[in-house]
Symmetry: C2
Subunit: 344 residues, 2 copies
């Protein structure tokens, strides 16, 4: 099992990627990681960072790529112009069977564009998308799809997101019949915008375990395994949640700093807060899988730590091993929704 890891994608520099790769191969003995990036630089840093661990070092190699797509680049243009960009080279390795999956913490639009360009779409899938796990109150995550790849969707696209995310949750999380919810503004049938009203019957008559509309407040409750929405809303949901968590921390920190009593209390609560942080930490979930492309890819947060990249490599290996794509194609075949209009 060989994972390609974009060594230049994250905001945190190549050392973090190298440390993530080393940690991943230590965690799973049949794993190899290929770091994609400037060969000399990466080999030099590897020497320094893995000096004491020849075993791990022997399973982390470097594949050269001379260009990097930055967060400022326009995804599709950049993928076309920068032919030797890490993310393009990485998916090329996957395409030619030289790697089983690709992991990148870079520009997510470009990662998606490179994946689609190199690997193509799965048969029958109209729109590949990005899924992401969100923590919940119940110690098991919920998968939201799409979180930003497709801003204007039709109902058939949402239906396919539900199929793809269900397969993922079933195979990677071993959830027997994942509960699928359609994100709306009221639980009752008939509540929602035009897209939701059109999608509801598709999901209801499908073989999926559709539990109906779910509201924003259900996302974090842990009563649903998969929530589908268009990528515009999914992205806003993701960013708003991150922003709310940041703002709450900032305000609480300000209040704590006002009194010695509260500061002492904070010190005593640190252990409990660490437990909370671990439960909600995105690093625990291993990034956001690209679903619907004919191959395996994972997009990580730009600020990913080595621990997050390690986890993403392990999840990518899991995804490839469980052959989630075959399961998606099979499930899609069981219940075809206006196939022609979906593919158009």
């Amino acid at each position: 099992m060989k994972i390609a890891l974009d060594a230049m994608g994250g905001d945190t520099g190549p050392d973090v990627a190298i440390l993530g790769a080393l940690a991943a191969v230590r965690a799973r003995s049949d794993l190899e990681v290929v770091l994609i990036g400037p060969e000399e630089l990466l080999k030099g840093r590897m020497q320094d960072l893995a000096r004491d661990d020849a075993g791990a070092q022997s399973r982390v190699s470097v594949h050269p790529a001379s260009e990097v797509i930055t967060m400022e680049d326009v995804p599709v243009d950049a993928v076309r112009k920068k032919k030797d960009a890490t993310v393009v080279v990485g998916f090329d390795l996957v395409k030619h069977g030289q790697a089983d999956a690709m992991v990148s913490a870079g520009n997510s639009g470009a990662t998606m564009a490179a994946a689609v360009k190199k690997l193509g779409r799965l048969p029958g899938i109209a729109r590949p998308g990005i899924a992401s796990f969100f923590p919940t109150a119940k110690n098991r995550p919920v998968m939201i799809m799409d979180i930003g790849a497709n801003v204007d969707c039709r109902s058939q696209h949402l239906y396919q997101f539900a199929v793809m995310a269900s397969c993922y949750v079933r195979l990677v999380l071993n959830t027997d019949r994942p509960r699928v919810g359609l994100l709306s503004i009221g639980a009752e049938t008939g509540k929602g915008n035009a897209l939701v009203k059109e999608c509801y019957p598709l999901l209801q008559s499908s073989p999926l375990n559709f539990i109906g509309n779910v509201e924003g407040r259900d996302v974090y409750r842990g009563n649903v395994d998969v929530v589908v929405c268009d990528g515009f809303i999914g992205n806003i949901l993701l960013k708003t949640s991150e922003g709310l968590a940041e703002a709450a921390q900032q305000v609480i920190r300000g209040e704590i700093l006002k009194s010695w009593r509260a500061r002492l209390g904070y010190v005593l609560m640190r252990g409990a807060l660490a437990g909370f942080k671990k439960q909600v930490d995105y690093a625990e979930y291993g990034g956001a899988p690209l679903l619907g492309v004919n191959g395996t890819g994972i997009i990580c947060h730009g600020a990913s730590s080595a621990a997050a990249l390690r986890k993403a490599c392990l999840v990518a290996a899991d995804m490839a091993q469980h052959d989630i794509n075959a399961a998606i194609v099979r499930l899609l075949g069981e219940y075809q929704v206006e196939q022609d209009s979906v593919a158009s």
Copy 2:
């Protein structure tokens, strides 16, 4: 200044409404509140709850209404059928000049429907909407519009939301030139879904202080005063935020209960947490104004406390006094956007 208050709307019963009304008239000496609901019941409870305060009692009266629209009722149907419902009777008082504004913690769809039916829309306004304040990291709230009245919008509707919310923030919060942001998935022009791309130029060429697209993470940062979005997204944003806050509390509580050390820490931090809670408490913001109807109305959270209803009555008085509706009509007149298509 006389405010009609729906005594039967909230989940918490008429006592809370009565206590809210009494607190409101105590806070402002020129204020009267008319409680709308079953006359005998309300008068009896008033006797008990305000026994020691004849002054306050003299400025809280009761206007009879025999029916209640529940959260389960279908808004438009219920408003048509239940002609003597509290919320219908309340807006009728406003229509006939017997009250300056109406406040309800009941079914928000029905409150909106009753307001539109009794008061009509402001001249030039295509779609009245519901605006709501959200707390931010900067100790000043941001107003989001629409939060649920209009699920499928056109760009002209979002533009009018921006006009209405700007007037509100300018007059009620005394913010000189409120910064208006368009909720999207990237700050750059040209990012977003079809609706956002269409709305962007309307806002940019308007007299509003438009600062461009804002992302989900900007909502809670306090760098923008008004955020516009369609009601489907606004409602999901609101409910997701509430759900996230609930889930985080639940998980943290679970972690704290695991250790005595953390429990002690929690006790010491209580003051700081109370400060935090006060800053983010919706009760501090006085409910969600209905904007775009030809009169004044405020919708409160179903679980509103007496303090929240008190604040809502005071804000409703402020709204009526500042004549926000006249300001909206004036500002709308300064820059007309395809008036015919908006009104259609």
